[in-house]
């Protein structure tokens, strides 16, 4: 293979015309890549452009990207709309508080369903599967009652507790663990490892890409959730996340769309996630490729 490849390249380099056509193709591919990424980037770029534009200038007038001048006035107005510092605090606490518990519960349950034999295993698995199919919206009234009975209404616990178990996560980990060869577990057992040690030293390290993918999905789901927090919490200080602040901007529809404020507020809210994604970008992409999640 290697030899043929080398020889071909030599041949290619010898004929100028072929060099040209190969470059054309790779240029075309590059152009296509740029066009596609521009398509994906376009809404994001427009959002930034609108956020930095003076509020009184509609996008249809003046320079499409910069308007007459750039301004942070929209950010100031958006910032003054809601107690964002409390909203940020709550969002971070909730995301960390949900994810850290979820990682434990889905690992345990995933292992149980993947490797342990116990009566009712299939039935329980089906019940969990079933839960994936129930839209959460229809359970909201009952869930609010439960939260109130538990005495955690209007606290951050109310935002975290319902998500401590995750049907999606359990099924995901079950599938991942099943693909890990039993031999590895048996070898560890021979060396005297107990169940927890097997999970800790065999299953978890081999499933890091799946955990990363799961974490990304769950973090953005909790970060973006609105309806539940709006209903079970009442005060920003006790625990209302960023989406509630953003909702204030989005519901100001009486006087027509206030795009500048909306986009500035949106930038404030997504900023931490964007930074997080940029830092862990390579790892995320690897995880999605490895886990087959999209």
């Amino acid at each position: 293979m290697n030899k043929i490849g080398t020889r071909r390249r030599v041949e290619v380099e010898m004929t100028p015309r072929s060099v040209g056509s190969r470059n054309r193709w790779s240029v075309a591919a590059d152009v296509l890549t740029v066009v596609m990424s521009m398509l994906w980037l376009f809404p994001f770029i427009m959002a930034i452009a609108v956020a930095l534009r003076p509020q009184r200038e509609p996008i249809s007038t003046g320079n499409i990207f910069f308007g007459s001048h750039l301004t942070l006035a929209n950010f100031e107005r958006a910032w003054n709309t809601a107690p964002w510092e409390w909203h940020f605090l709550t969002s971070v606490i909730v995301v960390v508080g949900v994810l850290s518990v979820q990682l434990v519960t889905i690992t345990m349950a995933g292992y149980a369903f993947a490797r342990l034999k116990f009566p009712g295993r299939t039935l329980l698995l089906y019940i969990i599967l079933l839960q994936l199919m129930i839209p959460t919206g229809i359970l909201i009234v009952q869930n609010v009652q439960t939260i109130r009975e538990l005495g955690v209404f209007n606290t951050r616990w109310a935002l975290m507790m319902p998500y401590w178990g995750s049907a999606f996560g359990v099924l995901l980990m079950r599938q991942t663990f099943r693909e890990i060869p039993r031999d590895l577990e048996e070898a560890a057992r021979m060396d005297g490892a107990n169940v927890l040690q097997v999970i800790r030293h065999v299953y978890v390290p081999l499933s890091i890409p799946t955990y990363t993918a799961f974490a990304l999905v769950m973090v953005s789901a909790r970060w973006n959730e609105l309806l539940w927090p709006l209903i079970v919490t009442r005060n920003p200080e006790e625990g209302r996340p960023l989406t509630v602040g953003l909702n204030q901007l989005y519901s100001a529809t009486e006087a027509g769309a206030q795009w500048g404020n909306l986009m500035a507020g949106t930038m404030l809210v997504i900023f931490p996630l964007v930074v997080l994604f940029m830092i862990f970008q390579r790892r995320f992409i690897e995880s999605f490729a490895a886990s087959g999640l999209r």
Binding site: R56, P58, G165, R234, N235, E254, Q258
Partner: protein
């Protein structure tokens, strides 16, 4: 899984319960949970915190807990989700939510509070009468008090009218003539925001002006198939239809989008628009031309300065009681409603948000007084209230509005031709009558 989650949660919570603050009140004060819905921008949490502080200073022993509950729809859903033991004491909800909540016995009538006021009658009469229309049921019970009210109004580009030497239209014929004169290839003569999910509000102004209000004070009756209703719908639809198709050709086909109409007007892309008075502040700040306001032009329902059809809109204050609240709590809730609807607060809130202050006397005090002196446009919507109709409301209001909005959109957008419009209205009427059957 839910059950398992609850069990796990229960175990963990049992351990935490001692340290978790479980209720919203912290001391022996009467606490009023005040849910506010909002549709305007600004530091509203800050404003309500100020109002609450003012009120608490005047009323020792009462704590106001203002809670942002989202849009009107989210607020309604939040209250419904609280179920059998509601936490809400006072809420801003749509003026038209009355029958939704009477029906479910959440809100209480306010007559006895008003009767006990020293100057109850004078207090009542100081509100614009049009704003009571959505608060009082046929039996005479008062269920809500006006807080943040609005009405549709016509904005026009006064510079354009002056340049072209055109008079501001006062009736529908003049409206079309002016729109045709001002319509160019890159400017609409007239934009009416009826594209989208909520054409009913603007449509009401036409139905009223044609003499066929959809509702008339009786929550068990909705009329959507009157001949005048059809005429009104035909007129509204023709505004956006091209001349070749038999329309007036002066606006976008199917109407304009709510959110985009004010910016189109400000950018000079529309000579006249219908929109809410709540847009005035933004439009005044953004337009680089003289902004004119006038009543919505009149229709065939009347002549010589009558036949105006604008409905009212916006949010009212409601008091909630599931029967468990003490005399002191209810009195505090009522005092808070009286405070928020006072002339002083209404003047302040109106100037801050652009809503129409609902007290007649609030227009004679600051800050509204100087604002109207500087911008007389603010008073146009107030003066139009003399002719205003109630906003659409009935039992099963949400479902009926969905039917009406759906069919209006079908006709206005052209999905259904005008020839078929009559049968569309008949079908919708049959569905509406079916929904209201149990109340008749």
């Amino acid at each position: 899984m839910r059950y398992i989650v609850r069990l796990i949660a229960l175990g963990i919570v049992a351990a935490l319960l001692a340290v978790v603050p479980a209720t919203m009140s912290q001391d022996d004060d009467v606490v009023i949970n005040f849910y506010w819905a909002s549709a305007v921008e600004g530091d509203l949490p800050g404003i309500f915190a100020d109002y609450a502080a003012q009120f608490e200073a005047e009323n020792p022993g009462v704590t106001i807990n203002p809670v942002y509950t989202g849009t009107y729809t989210q607020t309604r859903d939040t209250i419904l989700a609280e179920g059998d033991s509601p936490l809400v004491d006072v809420a801003i909800m749509l003026a038209t939510d009355m029958y939704t909540f009477i029906d479910d016995s959440y809100i209480i009538p306010l007559n006895s509070f008003i009767d006990e006021m020293e100057d109850g009658e004078a207090w009542f009469d100081d509100f614009f009468p049009a704003f009571w229309a959505n608060s009082i049921d046929p039996a005479g019970n008062v269920w809500s008090v006006s807080f943040q009210r609005s009405t549709p109004i016509m904005f026009y580009n006064a510079d354009l009218f002056a340049e072209e030497g055109i008079e501001v239209p006062t009736n529908n014929e003049e409206l079309i003539a002016a729109a045709q004169a001002l319509h160019t290839s890159d400017r609409d003569g007239l934009q009416i925001p009826v594209a989208g999910n909520f054409p009913i509000w603007m449509f009401q102004s036409f139905a009223n002006a044609y003499g066929a209000p959809l509702t008339d004070g009786d929550p068990t009756q909705v009329t959507f198939n009157a001949p005048e209703t059809l005429e009104a719908l035909e007129f509204l639809t023709r505004i956006g239809m091209s001349v070749e198709d038999g329309g007036f050709g002066v606006g976008p086909m199917g109407g304009s989008a709510w959110g985009e109409t004010p910016s189109a007007f400000v950018a000079g892309q529309a000579a006249m628009i219908y929109h809410t008075i709540g847009s005035l502040t933004n439009i005044l700040q953004s337009a680089d031309f003289e902004v004119g306001l006038s009543f919505l032009p009149s229709g065939p329902a009347g002549e010589d300065g009558t036949g105006y059809g604008s409905p009212t809109g916006g949010g009212n204050l409601y008091i909630f009681d599931d029967g468990s609240k003490s005399e002191a709590e209810l009195q505090a809730a009522w005092d808070w409603v009286v405070f928020l609807s006072s002339a002083e607060i209404q003047s302040d809130w109106g100037a801050a948000t652009g809503y129409i202050a609902s007290r007649i006397s609030s227009w004679e005090i600051e800050p509204l007084l100087s604002l109207t002196e500087e911008f007389p446009q603010y008073a146009v919507a107030r003066d139009q209230l003399d002719f205003a109709y109630e906003e659409f409301t009935a039992y099963r209001s949400v479902e009926i509005q969905n039917i009406i909005n759906f069919e209006l959109s079908n006709v206005i957008s052209g999905s259904v031709s005008l020839d078929e419009a009559a049968s569309v209205l008949e079908n919708a009427q049959a569905q509406i009558d079916g929904l209201l059957e149990e109340f008749n």
